[in-house]
């Protein structure tokens, strides 16, 4: 449904339509409006805080809500004014908004009234108070100091999620991370166990901060940010780049040539194949089944070779620019791709069939790590994780982009809500993306690769959404003047899914913790990228205090 129809149907006052799938609702009273919106059962997507003072001396807070069944995105705008910006929190209405609002609190110092746990989320504990790195008056290359007085300051209790069921007379805490064989990136889970049973799980993340947003807004030009965006994630980088480019293209009304869209589609699916195969390998390894791990990664190697052939690089494709792509796919390459795909599909199907016949693998995944449909919806889970819990959402179908506009995607949905169904969903997706690549290669039209466009108009809002291998990946862009970006806020899918992990861990056996954590295919660096650089060496000490206090 087009968005003007939408507005007219649900007569939303002071709503404007930014383009055919983006509605902007200016709200005086945020909670009131969002209560009204609840009737449309929106999915909370992300929240962007913008320091708009240079333009009109106020801060903007944009809550982005996804209306999957209308294929629309709805931006709910709230204003806040100097000197102490304050807006209403909507976490009570949308529990998924919890982290996002806390992040805005950390980064721009906008207070959210009525937030259930207004603790520091992203900034390290030794970050000084009242220093807000994403404000425009904070230079991007400045490092905060004053550690001496900070260490005096009682550290806030900043476990991101802490779930507890039942009560235990005697509890023992097992640290899982920051450096643990089960986790391939620095994260911290604290498991309270009784014997082998987990009775409480706490999560602490955001250790891998790289300050990309600030960098993009301050130093880079529009086309350079595309390459920065690709480096958000080592596994699903290309989808980030695509989302970013789409956001800018939408903001500046650039028409991307069809062939470029097809090429983007092919590369996105190749990336999905790579990511899922990699995940299968990791999952098998965590189940102690290393032979399966090796077998899967042998297949993944083939995909890497394909990427190298098509883009000139094994992982970071670096093919996107605003307005199109940089390389074409000729006949011979297409042929090579098709051959490789046949091989991979045949091998992988056989492999998975055999593995699914192994009782210990099934026993360790069936009814393990349950996340109910309700919880998944409440916490805004996305991607295969959500689809395994019976949520039928997929951006490629609900709100199609790139080449998905031209073909229809079949979305596998299971309601096992457990690790096994997450495995099966990903298996289905691999088969599906093999099919998609074939279709794309067959139907790819002739034509140019880059759109012709002159300067990007300033202060235009654009949203680029892609279905990353891990779920909905959304990039929010406000264009700036002289070929720069005023505000860029990427939100990786793991950001939503990580919040669900402690819910799944509680009540399980310790031996199942690694596979449960891995079952959402967590991409920590994806999630953590969005923050100002800090010195990790300092992080431990206050974390200690936090641990001791809780």
């Amino acid at each position: 449904m087009r968005c003007d129809e939408f507005i007219s149907r649900y007569d939303l006052e002071n709503a404007v339509c930014l383009d055919e799938r983006l509605v902007l609702v200016k709200a005086e009273n945020t909670t009131e409006v969002s209560e009204k919106l609840l009737s449309l059962s929106p999915r909370y997507s992300t929240c962007v805080g913008i320091d708009y003072r240079p333009i009109n001396r106020s801060y903007l807070v944009h809550h982005v809500l996804a209306l999957d069944k209308y294929g629309l995105y709805l931006v709910l705008e709230a204003r806040a004014h100097d000197p102490d910006p304050v807006v209403e929190s909507i976490t009570n209405l949308f529990p998924a908004a919890n982290w996002h609002e806390r992040e805005v609190m950390d980064m721009l110092g906008i207070k959210f009234i009525g937030h259930p746990e207004p603790y520091r989320l992203i900034l390290p504990d030794d970050w000084p108070e009242k220093v807000y790195p994403l404000r425009k008056d904070y230079p991007y290359d400045r490092k905060p100091v004053e550690l001496a007085e900070i260490l005096e300051r009682p550290t806030p209790r900043n476990y991101t999620v802490s779930i507890r069921r039942g009560s235990s007379v005697s509890e023992a805490e097992i640290p899982l991370g920051p450096y643990h064989p089960a986790l391939h990136e620095p994260e911290y889970y604290e498991l309270v166990i009784e014997g082998e049973r987990i009775v409480e799980a706490r999560y602490r993340g955001f250790f891998v901060h790289r300050g990309m947003e600030k960098l993009a807004e301050s130093r880079l030009t529009v086309n350079q940010v595309a390459f920065l965006a690709e480096r958000i994630c080592g596994i699903c980088g290309y989808t980030h780049a695509t989302a970013y480019c789409q956001a800018v293209e939408e903001a500046a009304d650039i028409e991307v040539p069809a062939r470029a869209e097809y090429i983007r589609g092919i590369l996105l699916e190749i990336e999905r194949l790579h990511s899922h195969l990699l995940w299968f390998g990791v999952a098998f390894h965590l189940l102690g089944f290393d032979t399966g791990f090796m077998a899967t990664w042998r297949l993944r190697e083939k995909i890497m070779d394909l990427a190298e052939l098509l883009t000139g690089n094994r992982k970071t494709y670096g093919l996107n620019l605003v307005g199109g792509v940089r390389r074409d796919i000729d006949e011979s390459k297409a042929h090579a791709v098709l051959e490789a795909l046949d091989f991979i599909e045949e091998k992988f199907k056989k492999l998975v069939r055999l593995v699914m016949g192994m009782h210990e693998i099934i026993a360790r995944t069936k009814n393990i790590g349950i996340l109910t449909r309700e919880d998944a919806k409440k916490l805004g889970a996305v991607g295969p994780h959500a689809r395994a819990s019976g949520l039928d959402i997929d951006v490629r179908r609900d709100c199609p982009y790139a080449a998905y506009k031209y073909v229809d995607v079949s979305v596998p949905v299971m309601d096992g809500c457990d690790v096994l169904s997450r495995i099966l969903v990903r298996f289905e997706e691999i088969i599906e993306s093999v099919r998609l690549i074939r279709v794309f290669l067959r139907e790819m039209p002739k034509g140019g690769l880059m759109a012709e466009y002159d300067d990007i108009p300033g202060l235009r809002i654009g949203i680029g959404v892609t279905e990353a291998p891990r779920g909905e990946d959304i990039h929010y862009v406000v264009t700036g003047r002289e070929n720069k970006i005023y505000r860029w806020r990427p939100r990786a899918p793991s950001y939503m899914n990580l919040a669900t992990v402690p819910h799944m861990l509680v009540g399980e056996k310790l031996a199942n913790a690694p596979i449960i954590i891995a079952s959402i295919d967590p991409c920590f660096s994806c999630t953590d990228h969005v923050v100002v650089i800090d010195r990790s060496s300092r992080k431990k000490i206050p974390l200690e205090k936090a641990l001791r206090e809780t």
């Binding site: 005697s170 023992a172 805490e173 640290p175 450096y179 009784e194 431990k540």
Partner: protein, 649 residues
């Protein structure tokens, strides 16, 4: 004058222990030193008497001539002279008693310091010597009637000792003990004794042994009723299921010396009587073999598997002493079974009997030692829950060393003493047909459970880092000495089994086992009996020492533990001992079900006890129970009299 004659005059020598309460008149230090000194002396005397009893050839018997109650001359009426004496079997148990009481008397001196409650010392000093003395008397008395009398008093003093720390738990458990071992059990023992006396016509052991042998087979009373009642009573004393429920409370709640004395010596007196009943009085009866083996096996399974669940140090040990006594009873049963069941190798029955005595001794050694170590931990941290103990290995190195030896011994690790006796039990039960292999299998399986549960005990008390530092803890010299003696004995009996086996060989004379204890059990090289545990000791101790010395000792680098880079307060991250084996218990829950049903039944008894307790203190209840007891005793006499009339012969 002959030595046997000479010794008879020393039978009364341990009595001066009764002087201990007099010491209450003096200052504390005098009391502490004096009491443990006196107790040591009399324990020494007991020990010496036991050794002599083994050495001298003739049995030492002394009859008090002036103590005879002459009655009328009706055929069923009889007279009971007080007969004191030491024969081989009683001397063996005298040695056990001597060692246990000696060590716990030494231990007592250091332990006084941890008795803080008002009047605790007094009660202890009053009851402790009495218990030792009456245990001694019960062993040396040679007449069933007086056995019953001394037995009663021993039970009473035991109960005083258990309750001596007037803690609620202690008193409750004392009541439970009272109800179980005094109420029904004493009645049964009384009934058993009475029926034996009736059927044999005399109370002195010699006559009884002589007469019963001839009666068994064609006299229902002598074959089934008397041993049955007697056995039932003894079961309560030893703590076999289903009459075990007093054991964990009594051992757990009472002061350390009390529990070490109870599980070390008092329970052995039950074993002693069991042994005497089935090996001396009665000829091998197949049924009793089966009954004893089954009850023994059931007890060792139940006791040990429940011990695995415990997280209170003393209760854990208490359940284990149930289990270990199960081993002993199984061995006795096996011996009877093998002797009376033709297809089996009769030689093995001797081995089984020897194993029973051996394991009884070993259990006294390491269980006393373990209770003492638990007491030391309590002394240091004033804490009994394994969850909160820990880190004593650094503060009490010697205690931790002896505790390790004891844990290895009770787990039956070669070359310690537990291994030898368990090895004998298996090798007598397994290689034959019928019931025994199953029992042997259960025993071997359970010994692994034992070792697992002592991994838990040892490591959580002495192994892990301390949670809260107890400040400056020093292990009192007396405690360490006592434990050291026992530890050395544990090693000695493991490395040189021929010492106890020699004693056992003597003690087994006079039983119905005809062939002496076979040297052929262990391989003989040029006539020298060579026990594997000697070889193992000769290799393992020096070799490990060498490796430690060369590779590890001076060159060890100690590093802080690794917590995934999350530096934590250690205490909070340690898993809790109470949950160590949760998985195992949940998977093998079926085994627990039976025991739990029995237990839940016994809980009711406990509530009954409570209800009594809330009304009055247990002491005032005692006379009442005595009266009840007497009346019931008469009743049984009448019944059995009638029975006699009915029965043939």
């Amino acid at each position: 004058m002959e030595i046997a004659q000479l010794i008879t005059y020393f039978l009364i020598a341990p009595v001066p222990i009764l002087l201990i309460p007099v010491l209450l008149l003096w200052r504390k230090r005098v009391l502490y030193i004096g009491s443990s000194l006196l107790a040591c002396i009399s324990s020494m005397i007991i020990l010496v008497l036991g050794v002599f009893g083994i050495l001298v050839s003739k049995p030492i018997v002394y009859v008090f001539p002036w103590f005879n109650i002459q009655m009328s001359t009706h055929p069923y009426w009889f007279y009971f002279p007080v007969i004191l004496g030491i024969d081989k079997i009683s001397s063996y148990f005298l040695i056990i008693l001597g060692i246990v009481s000696l060590t716990s008397s030494i231990y007592m001196h250091g332990y006084y310091a941890s008795l803080k409650r008002k009047g605790e010392v007094t009660r202890l000093v009053l009851s402790y010597p009495l218990l030792i003395l009456f245990m001694y008397l019960v062993i040396i008395v040679q007449s069933l009637f007086w056995f019953l009398v001394f037995w009663e008093v021993m039970g009473f003093t035991t109960q005083l000792l258990i309750a001596s720390s007037m803690k609620r738990g202690g008193v409750v458990s004392a009541m439970k003990y009272y109800l179980l071992t005094k109420g029904p059990a004493e009645l049964m023992i009384a009934g058993g004794i009475v029926s034996i006396i009736i059927s044999s016509g005399d109370a002195s052991y010699a006559t009884v042994a002589h007469v019963l042998k001839s009666l068994v087979g064609h006299n229902l009373l002598a074959t089934i009723v008397a041993p049955g009642l007697f056995l039932a009573g003894l079961m309560a004393k030893i703590g076999l299921i289903p009459l075990h429920s007093w054991v964990p409370e009594a051992y757990g709640e009472s002061p350390t010396m009390a529990s070490s004395l109870l599980s070390g010596a008092a329970s052995k007196i039950g074993v002693y009587m069991l042994f005497r009943l089935f090996m001396y009085f009665l000829p091998p009866v197949f049924v009793w073999g089966i009954v004893l083996s089954v009850f023994g096996t059931a007890t060792l399974i139940y006791g040990t598997l429940n011990a695995l669940r415990q997280y209170d140090s003393k209760r854990l040990l208490a359940y284990h002493s149930m289990g270990q006594l199960g081993y002993v009873v199984l061995a006795i049963g096996a011996s009877i079974y093998l002797a009376s069941y033709q297809p089996c190798n009769a030689l093995l029955s001797t081995v089984a009997a020897a194993a029973a005595l051996y394991h009884a001794f070993n259990h006294s050694l390491f269980k006393t030692l373990l209770f003492m170590s638990a007491g030391a931990a309590e002394y240091a941290l004033n804490e009994r829950s394994l969850d909160l103990l820990g880190g004593l290995g650094r503060m009490m190195p010697l205690t931790s060393l002896v505790a390790l030896i004891a844990s290895f011994s009770i787990s039956g690790l070669p070359p310690f003493n537990g291994f030898v006796s368990k090895w004998m039990i298996y090798s007598s039960t397994m290689p034959c047909s019928g019931l025994l292999p199953v029992c042997g299998f259960a025993a071997m399986f359970i010994s692994s459970v034992t070792s697992a549960s002592f991994m838990k005990y040892y490591t959580s008390v002495f192994g892990r880092p301390a949670f809260r530092s107890p400040g400056e803890v020093r292990e009192p010299l007396s405690m360490v000495t006592a434990m050291m003696i026992l530890a050395c004995l544990c090693v000695l009996f493991g490395v040189a089994p021929f010492i106890p086996l020699m004693m056992i060989g003597h003690s087994l004379r006079g039983t119905w086992l005809h062939q002496p204890f076979p040297q052929g059990l262990v391989p003989v090289i040029n006539g020298v009996a060579l026990n594997p545990s000697i070889i193992i000791a000769a290799v393992v101790f020096p070799l490990s020492g060498l490796i430690y010395d060369v590779a590890i000792r001076d060159r060890t680098r100690t590093v802080p533990g690794w917590f995934c880079g999350a530096k934590k307060i250690v205490a909070r991250t340690m898993p809790q001992p109470r949950h160590y084996f949760d998985e195992y218990e949940s998977v093998f829950s079926e085994i627990y079900v039976i025991g739990d049903t029995i237990h839940s039944g016994l809980i009711k008894t406990g509530h009954f006890v409570k209800s009594i307790l809330q009304r009055k203190s247990f002491v005032f209840e005692a006379p009442l129970f005595m009266a009840l007891l007497a009346s019931l005793l008469i009743l049984i006499l009448l019944i059995i009299g009638l029975l006699q009339g009915v029965l043939p012969g």
